[in-house]
């Protein structure tokens, strides 16, 4: 009797037809239909029903969080809710997202409740202290998780409001470009692109606010008929710079660009419509987009493959904030209404993150803000790990300062969702200490046998694993396009040590801390390892490796009686090692000899050859220095020949002089030569300030695949460690190691 006939018999015996619950298709349909019916149930609109249902759910929620389960009961419960989440994941829609979020909140809260109630009965005082530290770190992570869900569960995704036909209704705009010590070559394209924005000429004024008081900048501004403003001091850095320009200008709206953020020509038309629509609107923020890789992307070679740190914020968090009217001002690529800015006393100067604080003050007065998630400007990312760290230290310090002196939970004027959004933004920067705790917690057992969680490993597993799994499912769904789980860990870990001290100090005394200007547009002449920045992590890494070795000893010989506990701590350490190794590879600064960043773009172009003939071609990438061209056919041209390259924007043409630097096969590279100011304007108009310049920036990317992510992080970590060890072994100067940087 074959297997097939047995199956037939079995089916016949049970005789489940089309309408049997054992028929999977019927079951799916039934689930779908009842789900739909439940959602579309007419009684929802009857007053009281939804409220009563919510009360029932809350009670049920409370019960499920607090009810004590045995290990096996907890296991079954976890399996059930994880299965539900995995099943629901296949459906699209915000409602399902909210259900997944609720399940995650349930699992995590239940875990934390269990941790507080049962896993802390520790007698030894040292164990208790360490246990409490870990619990505090977990509590922090739980708050961030919950508030984060609240902040991003329902992104608003606003669209631009079209401008009215009648030009007389268009407000006057002042464009502020504050600069302090950046080279003119960085500032030039920004000023030129600001002038090229589509706006009635008599209604826009561009101001170069030079805190460096440089003649070169004054002359440059004069040559373009841009207003040049400066002041006698540098009080309050950028905020002070902008504030001192306020009395000398009069536009109804103020657009602010960091001196290296090049706006597209559509920036104003896209943003200003919102001001005409809402008279209480004080500020519109657009994304900060970076055309060069940050040190993580550069050193790990992930540029444009993986969402970077900013993408979560500009792709999701700000859109989420916008729903609650809590969009933050980010200091650049934003438009403010002058009257309202003046009402809060100009840009805030009490803290080093003047932008977020200004938005907070505006919100306190009841004004609204908006976020438009359409990239309308692009700039340079920080050039090195140390510069990146310095910048984040400033942000963290500033947020801690605001938390101290103008706490969003207290004070007048804010609605509670706004308070929560601000709370999350500030708490986010306190991740330093908790992360260091997570990175070292298992060591307390491996080295000292400190039992910081008073529970057996299997019990920890049945509580902690669903908590982590659900958090992953929900976050992957909400943030998958903007953040990849384990890479985000690497970003945060690299900064954890450095923001730990400043945030703590700022909490003690908010006056501590000075404004740091972030260095940009630099070169890294030679590959080097940033010992100075990574030393704390090397120490933690070495400790973890030692812990791993000791742990293996414990596993087989010394502590074989608590095999589960040792294994649990070993696995935790192994995970920590993976993240640490990847973090350290970031510190291996890759060579960066390019002066200008190449931006990939497909653009119709024409080369006018010295003999008067032409070639219709396409631009492959451009930078401020030159461009790469895809030729349709080979062109006989010597290196060094001068040509004119025309770039097309719609039917407009911009011709720029250039010299050939490379010509092989169908690929040609040209460097711009003898550009005068007109040529430079043409270049900016045809490239950076195009309306569609940043539209197709991101290639089709994978959504978050956590398992693949951890494999990649592991790969990067191993490679980084190998290179690091080689570097130490091969270094002739290795006895002089304490001499930082190479």
């Amino acid at each position: 009797m074959s297997a097939r006939s047995i199956l037939m018999r079995w089916r016949k015996h049970w005789s489940f037809g089309a309408r049997s619950l054992l028929n999977p298709r019927y079951l799916y349909g039934l689930v779908n239909e009842s789900g739909n019916r439940l959602v579309n149930w007419s009684a929802w609109s009857t007053p009281g029903v939804a409220g009563a249902f919510a009360v029932v759910c809350l009670v049920l929620f409370g019960v499920l969080i607090t009810i004590p389960f045995s290990r096996d009961e907890q296991l079954v419960f976890s399996l059930v809710i994880v299965s539900v989440a995995l099943y629901m994941r296949r459906y699209v829609g915000t409602l399902v997202t909210l259900v997944l979020v609720s399940l995650s909140v349930l699992a995590s809260t239940r875990y934390l409740y269990w941790r507080c109630i049962t896993s802390l009965q520790i007698e030894q005082s040292v164990d208790l202290l360490l246990g409490l530290a870990l619990l505090a770190a977990e509590l922090y992570a739980w708050i961030i998780l919950i508030v984060g869900y609240f902040q991003t569960a329902w992104p608003l995704k606003r669209k631009p409001v079209p401008m009215p036909q009648d030009l007389s209704m268009w407000p006057t705009v002042d464009v502020f470009i504050p600069t302090y010590n950046e080279p003119l070559s960085v500032v030039m394209p920004t000023v030129i692109a600001a002038l090229a924005m589509d706006w009635p000429r008599d209604k826009i004024k561009v101001y170069l606010l030079d805190d460096g008081r440089r003649n070169e900048f004054r002359d440059f501004a004069a040559s373009l008929e841009v207003n040049y403003l400066t002041r006698s001091n540098n009080l309050h850095a950028k905020a002070g710079n902008i504030n001192s320009a306020l009395p000398e200008t009069d536009g109804e709206l103020i657009a602010i660009f960091d001196c290296d953020h090049i706006p597209t020509r559509t920036f104003l038309q896209a943003t200003v419509g919102l001001f005409l629509q809402d008279s209480a609107l004080a500020m519109v923020q657009t994304p900060h987009h970076f055309l060069s890789p940050d040190p993580f992307e550069r050193n790990l070679q992930l540029f444009r493959l993986m969402p970077n740190e900013g993408e979560l914020f500009y792709g999701l968090v700000q859109d989420g904030n916008d729903l609650w009217n809590a969009t933050f001002f980010c200091g650049s690529c934003a438009v403010l209404r002058r009257t309202m800015l003046l009402e809060v006393g100009g840009v805030a100067t009490e803290t080093v993150t003047e932008d977020a604080h200004t938005a907070l003050k505006l919100h306190r007065l009841g004004y609204s803000t908006a976020y438009l998630g359409v990239t309308q400007a692009a700039g340079l990312a920080t050039e090195s790990l140390s510069a990146h760290v310095r910048q984040r230290i400033r942000w963290a310090r500033g947020m801690a300062q605001i938390f101290r002196i103008d706490n969003p939970l207290l004070g007048k004027g804010l609605r509670w969702p706004q308070r929560l959004c601000y709370l999350n933004a500030m708490l986010h920067f306190f991740y330093g200490l908790p992360r260091i705790i997570f990175l070292t917690a298992p060591l307390s057992y491996l080295f000292f046998e400190a039992h910081i969680i008073q529970a057996s490993a299997d019990l920890i597993a049945v509580y902690a694993l669903p908590h982590l799994t659900h958090a992953n499912i929900a976050n992957s769904r909400m943030q998958g396009k903007h953040r990849h789980t384990f890479w985000a860990e690497v970003y945060e870990t690299a900064l954890a040590w450095y923001i730990m001290v400043p945030t703590t100090l700022a909490m003690i005394n908010p006056k501590f801390g000075q404004f740091n200007v972030t260095g940009k547009g630099g070169q890294v002449e030679q590959e080097y390892f940033d010992w100075k920045t990574s030393m704390p992590y090397i120490v933690i890494l070495v400790l973890n490796i030692a812990g791993l070795v000791v742990g293996i000893g414990r596993l087989f010989w010394w502590n074989s009686h608590e095999f589960g506990t040792v294994l649990f701590n070993l696995m935790w350490t192994a995970y920590n090692l993976t993240i640490l190794a990847a973090t350290l590879s970031v510190a291996l600064e890759a060579r960066q000899i390019r002066r200008h960043w190449r931006v990939q773009i497909d653009l119709p172009a024409m080369i006018r050859l010295p003999n008067g003939r032409t070639v219709a071609c396409e631009v492959d990438d451009f930078s401020e220095g030159g461009l790469a061209i895809k030729l349709p056919t080979e062109v006989a041209l010597e290196k060094g020949s001068m040509v004119r390259i025309s770039l097309f924007r719609g039917e407009r043409e911009f011709a720029i002089p250039a010299a050939i630097v490379f010509n092989q096969g169908l690929v040609m590279r040209a460097r711009f030569e003898n550009m005068n100011l007109d040529d430079y304007r043409s270049l900016v108009a045809a490239t950076f300030s195009r309306a569609d310049a940043w539209q197709d920036w991101l290639p089709e990317r994978d959504i978050d695949r956590p398992l693949q992510g951890i494999r990649e992080v592991l790969g990067v970590g191993i490679e980084g460690l190998t290179r690091l060890v080689k570097r130490i072994a091969l270094s002739r100067q290795w006895r002089r190691l304490p001499v930082w940087k190479k």
Binding site: M606, R608, R613, T614, V615, A616, E651, E653, A655, P657
Partner: protein, 254 residues
């Protein structure tokens, strides 16, 4: 059948090369044999652009004087366009032909009707520069008048005269459209760029959004008895003619 008359008020603007190259680009767009190029310019140069050697009898002028149909004068060019050369004629023949054109203002219209071309076929007619009996004939039957300009002061100054002409026909034949094509543009020359802008302001939408770039390949192509589209298929002028053809067909479809 659609009729495009290519005209200019001033000589030397590259009108004949525009007619020939546009005809070739249109033939690529619409299909070989669907486009006819008629030379009504006594310079008799259109055929050269289309790679046709002169043959006795293949002359629109002589056929007209003999009261014969066009059919036998038509030549298939190697580039997918049917060409009707003006023909190598004596001075007296030319004068006789022009007298005929003055006497019979609807001569061209009638001749076109007799060719038996289908609705989807396209006829491009090259005109001599400035006002003439040829131009009157062309205006009488054109669906579109394509006026070729250079981005220079001399061309700019002819616009007033051209517009006066066009206003006159507009009274007789209200449906006729007229557009301007900028030829031999060079964005790297300041004057060229400035006049381009002035023209844009003056003519608005009647200035075609696609211009033809100055390109040595166009002149070189003529020396090789070829349209630029086959002489240098990768050059910008070729690209421009292709885009112009695509633009005009796109407009016609609308």
């Amino acid at each position: 059948m659609s009729v495009i008359v290519v005209a200019s008020m001033k000589g030397g603007v590259g009108k004949t090369s525009v007619t020939a190259n546009l005809a070739v680009a249109m033939a690529a767009e619409l299909g070989a044999g669907r486009v006819s190029a008629i030379d009504l310019d006594p310079q008799n140069a259109l055929r050269l652009h289309l790679g046709i050697e002169a043959l006795e009898g293949q002359s629109i002028c002589k056929q007209a004087l003999r009261r014969r149909s066009w059919q036998s004068a038509m030549v298939d060019s190697p580039f997918g366009v049917v060409c009707l050369p003006y023909g190598l004629v004596s001075e007296s023949e030319r004068e006789a032909f022009e007298d005929l054109l003055v006497e019979e203002p609807d001569w061209l219209e009638r001749q076109l009707a007799q060719t038996g071309l289908g609705d989807d076929d396209l006829v491009l007619i090259d005109m001599p520069p400035g006002p003439s009996a040829y131009l009157n004939q062309g205006f009488a039957c054109a669906d579109l008048i394509l006026i070729v300009l250079l981005a220079d002061a001399a061309s700019y100054s002819t616009i007033v005269a051209m517009e006066t002409w066009i206003e006159q026909i507009a009274v007789q034949r209200p449906g006729v459209q007229s557009v301007y094509l900028l030829n031999q543009t060079d964005e790297s020359v300041r004057l060229n760029r400035d006049i381009g802008e002035v023209l844009q302001q003056r003519l608005g939408k009647r200035l075609l959004p696609v211009g033809i770039h100055r390109d040595e390949a166009v002149c070189e192509a003529l020396a090789f008895l070829q349209p630029v589209l086959s002489y240098d298929p990768r050059c910008q002028a070729t690209h421009d003619f292709q885009r112009l053809a695509a633009y005009l067909t796109g407009q016609a479809d609308r």
